[in-house]
Symmetry: C2
Subunit: 555 residues, 2 copies
């Protein structure tokens, strides 16, 4: 059978890896305090696939035979595990539905093509049979971009791109690499790194997401301040459509009408199957450094980030947590760590003497890359700006710690669900002038929603990316859920946050895409005319709605 590895069918990440709190002494009391949850209660037991009643496949045998002829029997799967793995992404809603054994429409077959020619044949045969094709990368999507519509009566094919995971070519003179769409983050960095190059794209989902998935959802990474969002990085691409391949050659820039490249970006499988892309790559920098900083308040920290964004420094990472997320970071520190050294009582006493309210402290990380001299120059420039806004340098310790644990956060959601609590995220972007009012409005909306559903809720935030004209705010929220109606409760909280985004000058999503979960806010974000543009494009390119129907815009 296929050698493509998948995440746990019921949760985030690799089997055997999970979030543990036992080595983090402040975690349990913190969680008790903020959401009234005792994390030491017995967690729910492991899930058993056999308990799910998996519906029989609704696909003609002829079509399966045709698909098998294309890719070979080893690369077609219709067992329960494979079908369940490809049913959803990993949104909170997905995890809750799996736990509730709620799987109304699961793919009928999973196909693993080995190259673009096979994708072309699969697409042609599927469309000829009026089947639905859902391209599948790492399966990490958290916006509902991977599920078949519950009412779908046509055969549903999950097209898993996992075998197409190679860096095909590096054009060293141009700093461009041609990479297959199914390559996961680590595949890419390992293959590029061997030759001294990096893509520089590190979303939280890095270990479990693919180049094709990043493009299909307009991903952004932790170092996008320097390397750009995936929309900037992607210079050329291939996408398979019925009977033909869309070929966009790699170009640094062009003025050939409305950008077809920018139509595929964010298309979430609705405009064909992305098979490869040619992307900007960079020489691995001589020097790489992430420093921690502390600010006396959120407002001071955001003002500093804004000033840095218009300075002559060009940091790789600009990130600052609000006081709530800072408190959470402190609470998740291990017994001995950089952070614990940092935030020892001595430092805190010094800050108190300087007039800081310790409850308002905000932890920031700023990253630098380049030649040694340039990193020093930027660091000195940033230090001045930080000082001007009342902040202090906290050194390398917190930065290294952040760098090491940055991909582990998503595991906490399963830990919480095991203990009858919800933890989830929602992100936006807005102009600098709107960030603080938007932040306050989102907090108020979330707290109102917590009251409405009668829970003690928690919401925290960090600013994760800077642009010339604004930044991304990334919120995390949690609460102990009720016995029933877990999703009804969740929708109230999540909906309140999304509504506060669009009501306050923010976008409904900075880098998580739209899927079905964010689609209801599309008209409020890009106006009815904008939705009409996208819908018109989808209908023109895919009149039969064979490609991942129902995502991005709701008819």
């Amino acid at each position: 059978m296929t050698t493509v590895k998948h995440m746990k069918w019921w949760g985030w990440g690799v089997e055997g890896v999970a979030f543990h709190h036992e080595d983090k002494p402040d975690f349990a009391p913190f969680v008790q305090k903020v959401v009234d949850l005792d994390v030491n209660i017995p967690p729910v037991g492991a899930m058993d696939l056999a308990e799910l009643s998996v519906p029989a496949a609704r696909i003609p045998g002829d079509l399966v035979a045709e698909l098998t002829e294309v890719v070979g029997a080893d690369h077609v799967a219709s067992d329960d595990l494979d079908r369940i793995v490809h049913t959803y992404g990993k949104s909170l809603r997905d995890l809750v539905r799996l736990r509730a054994k709620d799987i109304p429409r699961i793919p009928d077959v999973v196909v693993y093509p080995g190259d673009e020619a096979e994708v072309q044949q699969i697409v042609d045969k599927a469309v000829a049979a009026d089947a639905v094709i859902i391209p599948f990368g790492g399966g990490s999507n958290i916006a509902g971009s991977l599920e078949a519509p519950p009412e779908e009566t046509r055969p549903v094919i999950s097209l898993d791109m996992g075998r197409m995971n190679k860096v095909l070519d590096i054009d060293e003179e141009s700093g461009l690499a041609r990479i297959q769409a199914g390559a996961l983050g680590p595949d890419i960095e390992e293959q590029l790194g061997r030759r001294g190059w990096t893509l520089g794209h590190f979303p939280d989902s890095f270990t479990h997401s693919t180049l094709g998935g990043w493009i299909a959802t307009r991903s952004s990474g932790m170092q996008s301040d320097k390397y750009g969002d995936i929309a900037d990085i992607t210079r050329g691409l291939h996408a398979v459509l019925p009977g033909k391949v869309l070929v966009l050659r790699p170009l640094p820039s062009t003025s050939t009408g409305p950008s077809v490249r920018e139509m595929i970006l964010g298309s979430e499988g609705r405009l064909g199957v992305i098979t490869e892309a040619t992307v900007n790559v960079h020489r691995i920098p001589t020097e790489r450094l992430i420093l921690g900083y502390l600010f006396p308040s959120w407002e001071a920290g955001i003002a500093a980030m804004q000033e840095i964004s218009t300075s002559d420094a060009h940091p790789t990472v600009t990130r600052i947590s609000d006081s709530y997320e800072t408190a959470f970071s402190f609470a998740t520190r291990k017994k001995s760590s950089g952070i614990s050294k940092l935030v020892n009582e001595t430092v805190m006493k010094v800050l108190q003497k300087r007039g800081w309210n310790l409850d308002d402290i905000c932890l920031s990380f700023i990253g630098y890359e380049g030649g040694r001299a340039d990193v020093s120059r930027q660091k000195a420039m940033v230090k001045d700006v930080v000082g001007k806004h009342g902040g202090i340098v906290a050194g390398k310790g917190p930065g290294q710690l952040y760098d090491q644990k940055k991909f582990d956060t998503p595991y906490i959601r399963d830990f919480l669900l095991d203990r009858h609590a919800v933890g989830d995220v929602s992100e936006t972007a807005a102009p600098w002038s709107k960030l603080i009012p938007l932040y306050n409005a989102v907090r108020a909306a979330a707290n109102d929603a917590f009251d409405k559903i009668g829970v003690k809720g928690w919401i925290m935030c960090h600013m994760s990316h800077s642009y010339h004209s604004g930044a991304c705010l990334y919120f995390t929220f949690a609460y102990k859920h009720g016995e029933d109606e877990v999703l009804a409760q969740y929708d109230i909280v999540k909906g309140a946050i999304q509504q506060a985004f669009v009501d306050n000058g923010g976008t409904l999503s900075h880098h998580h895409g739209v899927g079905v979960e964010h689609a209801p806010w599309m008209e409020q974000d890009i106006s009815a005319a904008g939705v009409h543009f996208i819908d018109g494009l989808f209908s023109a390119v895919d009149p039969g709605q064979n490609f991942n129907p129902g995502k991005v815009v709701v008819k």
Copy 2:
């Protein structure tokens, strides 16, 4: 009548301004040598509008009355001059056709709206009457984006945006300005500059092109290395469609599906009327410097530009002329200028002693902006790279000269046409690894085309913009045209150059747009599927083909 100023109806720029060679002693012998043209022959006489037989307007009086009611009698024009001014852009083909009195389909009426509400009313009334709307900015387009299809039988309305020329708002915290689409470059810089801001967008057409036009054609400017192309600069926008306004709020980044912003960019009027945009603006920098450099060869210069693009320097301008354009620059120097000082015999002798072949010298300009320290740092870094590739610093003189005369070049085309010669431009962009082969192929193709039409032709080039993965090559060509068949000859030369672009990994246009002139190469550039995407979008948004039909894609 309207206070909106237009360019000469028959040529580029302002009445009374023209290219003169009398103060440039080397120009006449240079032109004689390279295209066998005696520039001292008597030029053709001034054109007389009365000699054109302007077709009567084909528009119902009711519709004109309705439009007049919307904007007022002062802002509707149907006199010959106004209609002729709005018939074409300023491409070589446009200038030749005007000189040949070839005006098969000119607009029936010109309307000058004062605000977005008026645009909405005009659009609604025009579409209700099944009229064609052609949005008109500065009229500087050189790709045939402004002409009505010759066979168009419906009423044609030229919608001149010239009255909508205000900076509406500056969000100083976010570095964003809301600007009306009809604002010309100088309007924008003057209104922003008063408050210490700059847009930093300076295309060659700057003095005669508008924000809306830049967006509609995906413009790029001389300082786009730093400020970005107009596609990067534009963060939000409004466009009027029948019965509604597309509103894209200003966002630093977003992941809301295929980018509608990037659909309007490059739409050339086919997706509605752009009425305003919110764009990134920057504080006017403390320091601004453009330095000249000399390289012993084109290959050495391009290699240096590539290395600078991946260095820790972030120049505002990176530009290098090939040896042919360098010779042209030297030939257009005035009696006493920075360049003349520079290229005096002493310098040349020194370079010869260093082993340079003086025929191969390439002149480069690199621009810097920022704080004083940062400009010094970048300058030093660039100097090292230049030296490594055998180049030398030529100082401030050439840079200042370039900066002063950068908007004057387009006047030469009329000067040449007056003397029975053609001069025109064509630009592309390609990855660094393809630039030199593409350059050689374009030169060969142009020279073959010159042979084919039996002329002594001249082609020269500069690299005008650097990106991480490639650059823009901007070609200028000239020859003495025949008595008849001026456009047939021209099409052979221009077509050969365009074909060489797409055959060698370049795009058909880096920043001039598509219009009707570049449309034949669209499939070769973005593939048949890409054209289908754009065409499908246009048909979905404008099923009646009321908005500037026939541009970008040819049905």
